[in-house]
């Protein structure tokens, strides 16, 4: 059974600082996704990572995937208040149709 663990679950950071959210998964996965969820809203797709060493960047967010370590990271550069949200990673098990989600990281960026 595929399990996905994120850490930290809560993150409070000052504007302008850098930080990384970690996503570990337990068995072979052939897709890794990052989503953002604002309070009371649905999930918005941020990144899809398909292969080992994949790196994708959008604005102040950069996601990477290391399939050998079963680890994905979401790096935040020079955080701004607008990035405050809950970030979920999700892994698709090889040969499965399900996405298994982590519990989410609630990010608060303090001015």
């Amino acid at each position: 059974e595929l399990k996905v663990e994120q850490n930290p679950l809560f993150l409070s950071m000052q504007e302008g600082k850098n930080y990384t959210i970690y996503c570990n998964y337990s068995t072979t996965s052939d897709r890794l996704y990052w989503y953002r969820q604002d309070p009371g809203k649905s999930l918005e797709s941020l990144f899809v990572l398909l292969s080992n060493g994949a790196v994708k960047q959008e604005g102040r967010l950069m996601a990477s995937l290391d399939t050998k370590a079963r680890l994905s990271t979401l790096h935040i550069t020079a955080a701004v208040h607008d990035l405050s949200a809950t970030y979920f990673c999700a892994a698709k098990g090889a040969g499965s149709y399900q996405l298994t989600f982590g519990k989410g990281t609630k990010l608060s960026v303090i001015p």
Binding site: K41, Y97, Q98
Partner: protein, 116 residues
């Protein structure tokens, strides 16, 4: 273009009643998922439909839960004899067929179900 549409957005029901939740996926998306999100928790997989194939029902928590998808488009999730632990946000998502190209799941805004 329109995104994934879910209705109702909110539903309050009494314990023991049946409820139906509706999902209208993005046009052209043949894969459809239902997930459940409890307060402060991650997403729990419920069921997956792909085209005319038999659905993957492995995530349904009990036989009170069922889902159907008519004509490969609209889906209905039915919860019979609702219990308080069924209270959650029920999210529907759709994607292009068969995970080709790493297409992400596109989520609707969810139905918030409260069982009193």
């Amino acid at each position: 273009g329109a995104g994934v549409s879910q209705s109702p957005s909110n539903k309050v029901t009494e314990k023991g009643k049946d409820v139906e939740l509706r999902c209208d996926p993005i046009s052209g998306h043949t894969a459809l998922y239902w997930y459940r999100q409890s307060l402060g928790q991650g997403l729990e997989f419920l069921i997956y439909f792909q085209g005319n194939s038999a659905p993957d029902k492995s995530g349904l928590p009990s036989d009170r839960f069922s889902a159907e998808r008519t004509g490969g488009s609209v889906s209905t999730l039915t919860i019979q004899r609702t219990q308080q632990e069924d209270s959650a946000v029920y999210l529907c998502a759709s994607s292009l067929a068969g995970w080709t190209g790493g297409s992400p799941l596109h989520f609707g805004n969810g139905t918030r179900l409260t069982v009193t």
